[in-house]
Each structure stands twice: as structure tokens, then as C-alpha cells.
């Protein structure tokens, strides 16, 4: 029996390989597709962000102890904290924005933690330079003092001679 070669044949009720493949593909797509309804940020997400902020703070505190300038890092951390608070306030009314804010806070915290290591190293380096300069200054001052003690009289006399050596004593009157 010859079957007509209609291009729409596959959509008919009869079983064909193309139809089976189509059904499988559609089913797979339906199963794997993400739901379009945005769910509220979970407590776990808030907890994860809070932990990230805490870790970033510990890194900033350490960088500060090492002598680094942490002013901008502190400001950024406060920005991250403000985003977490905002997310907490809007989680029930605007969950998608809350998730975005939490994600932003997480990124800021990670950036701060990363930058804190560099700031800490700079602080250690600056502190070392300051230490070396202070010790060198103290050594130079003490050296000058000893030199003045030992050679002070001689230096004073030579200076006096250089300043007043050309003076001529004249008889007055």
C-alpha cells in the first residue's frame, strides 16, 4: 500500500520515528526548563553572604593590623552590609531584587577579601620602611652626638678661627 508523502504526515496519529523524537525532546525541555517564578532568597543564601562578609572583615582587620590603609575597604564592606539589609527588607515584596542585592553583596565581600591581602602586604612594606628610617635616624643622631662630644672643641675652634681669623685688633683712641 503506498502512503502519500505529505510533509505533515509526522503530525498525524500514526506512530513514526520523527514523532517519537519530537515528543521526547519536548518532554525533556519541559522537565529541564527553569521555572519562571522567582523564589525568595533563602536563609542559606543570606547565611552564605553573611559568612562572606565576616571573612572579608577578618581579612580587612588583619590588613589594618599590618599597617595597611583600610579606609576604602571599610567603606566597601559597609556598602555590602547595606545591600544585605536591603535584601532582607525587600525579600518578601521583591524577591528577585533581593537576590540581585545579595549577589552584589557577595561579590563586593569577595573583592574586599581579595584586595585586603594586597593592602596588608603594602602595610607591612610601609611599616618596614618606616622602621628602617626611624632606626637609621636614631643611629645618625647618636653618631653626630658622639662626634660632637669627641671633636666638638676642635670643630668649634676651627670655625671660630675661620670666622674671626681675618679680624685685626686695633688700638682704640
Amino acid at each position: 500500500m503506498h502512503r502519500p508523502e505529505c510533509p505533515y504526515q509526522a503530525w498525524g496519529l500514526g506512530a513514526s520515528p520523527m514523532k517519537v523524537v519530537l515528543i521526547v525532546v519536548i518532554t525533556a525541555l519541559l522537565l529541564t526548563a527553569e521555572p519562571q517564578v522567582t523564589s525568595a532568597a533563602s536563609q542559606a543564601t543570606f547565611g552564605g553572604t553573611s559568612l562572606a562578609v565576616q571573612s572579608a572583615f577578618i581579612a580587612v582587620q588583619t590588613a589594618g593590623k599590618d599597617g595597611g590603609n583600610i579606609t576604602s575597604l571599610v567603606a566597601e564592606l559597609n556598602g555590602a552590609l547595606a545591600l544585605v539589609q536591603k535584601a532582607s527588607a525587600e525579600n518578601s515584596s521583591n524577591p528577585s531584587q533581593a537576590s540581585v542585592d545579595l549577589q552584589s553583596a557577595l561579590v563586593i565581600a569577595q573583592q574586599v577579601q581579595s584586595a585586603a591581602a594586597t593592602v596588608g602586604r603594602q602595610g607591612i612594606s610601609t611599616r618596614q620602611v618606616q622602621f628602617d628610617f626611624s632606626v637609621a635616624s636614631a643611629v645618625v643622631i647618636m653618631g653626630v652626638a658622639v662626634a660632637l662630644y669627641v671633636y666638638g672643641d676642635r670643630i668649634y675652634r676651627r670655625l671660630w678661627l675661620r670666622v674671626y681669623g681675618d679680624h685685626v685688633v686695633r688700638e682704640v683712641g
Binding site: 582587620q61 583600610i70 539589609q85 622602621f131 626611624s134 632606626v135 636614631a138 643622631i141 647618636m142
Partner: protein, 158 residues
């Protein structure tokens, strides 16, 4: 000026100069402490509300200062209590916070920020309690600093 006086002057000047040179690298030995203050709506120590209605919004300002010698991570816990609420410098109020305000301050840093509040329970001599908590890096948890403040309020039903 005789020689003895000159040597003495030289020694004194040398000691002062050496002290000035090494002072930047000497460890700071000051007292470490934090500060907590509650300011009225005008950001002054005045104008605090005394009577508010239940659910009526009002604004206060919180001052926090850090002189701990290093950066600190604080939380200001706002709690709604009554005359019977127990709180001291060693024990925080056993109440759930109605507001938690986190902030990070650098050493010798301070800040003033607003808090928008509303009382939920009517009654005479209600208390709005503010506690300062500080993050402990070793235990990775917040601990009560012992600093607290309060505002007494008569909360009406209207």
C-alpha cells in the same frame, strides 16, 4: 658655657631627638574602648520622644565610635522591652531584636546613622533598648560589649 654644661645639653638634645625619631615605631599603649550613643530626631542629645502611639513611626539616631586599636565589626541591636526587662553591663536583654544594624568601623572611626522605629506594645514605661555587639574574629561570632542605652516611652493605643 663650660664643658660640663655643654655635654649635658648635648646629651639631653640627643635623647630627645632619638625619642622623636623612634616614636613612630613604638607600639601604641592607649586604652581600647567602643562608644554607643542615642541621639534625638535632630541628631542631638535632646528632643527624644516621650509618648508615641502603637505603630507610630519615629526616627532616632545612633552614634557608634571605635577606639579599639583596630577595625571592628559591630551590630547595634534594638529591642523593645518593658520596665521588667533585665539588662546590665554583663548581660544583654533576653529579647529578640526588632532591628539589627550592622556596621564596620576603622580604628578611631565613628558614625551616626538613623533608625526608623515603631513600638508594637502599648503601655506606660516601655523601653527601647539599644545594645552594642562586636564581632570576635577568634570565635567568628558576635558578643555583647556591655554597652547599652535606653529610651523610656509611654506607648498609647491611639
Amino acid at each position: 658655657m663650660d664643658r660640663e654644661t655643654g655635654v649635658l645639653a648635648l646629651a639631653v638634645v640627643t635623647m630627645l631627638a632619638v625619642l622623636a625619631a623612634v616614636s613612630p615605631i613604638l607600639p601604641a599603649n592607649g586604652e581600647s574602648f567602643s562608644e554607643l550613643g542615642i541621639l534625638g530626631p535632630g541628631q542631638q542629645i535632646a528632643g527624644y520622644p516621650t509618648t508615641v502611639g502603637v505603630g507610630q513611626q519615629f526616627t532616632l539616631y545612633v552614634y557608634v565610635g571605635n577606639h579599639q586599636g583596630e577595625a571592628e565589626y559591630y551590630q547595634v541591636m534594638t529591642k523593645e522591652g518593658s520596665q521588667a526587662t533585665v539588662i546590665s553591663n554583663s548581660t544583654s536583654a533576653d529579647l529578640p531584636p526588632v532591628l539589627v544594624s550592622p556596621l564596620v568601623l576603622g580604628d578611631n572611626g565613628s558614625t551616626i546613622f538613623p533608625v526608623n522605629l515603631a513600638m508594637s506594645t502599648a503601655g506606660l514605661n516601655q523601653r527601647l533598648i539599644f545594645e552594642l555587639w562586636m564581632f570576635n574574629s577568634t570565635t567568628a561570632s558576635f558578643g555583647y560589649t556591655g554597652l547599652w542605652n535606653q529610651i523610656w516611652l509611654n506607648v498609647t493605643t491611639t
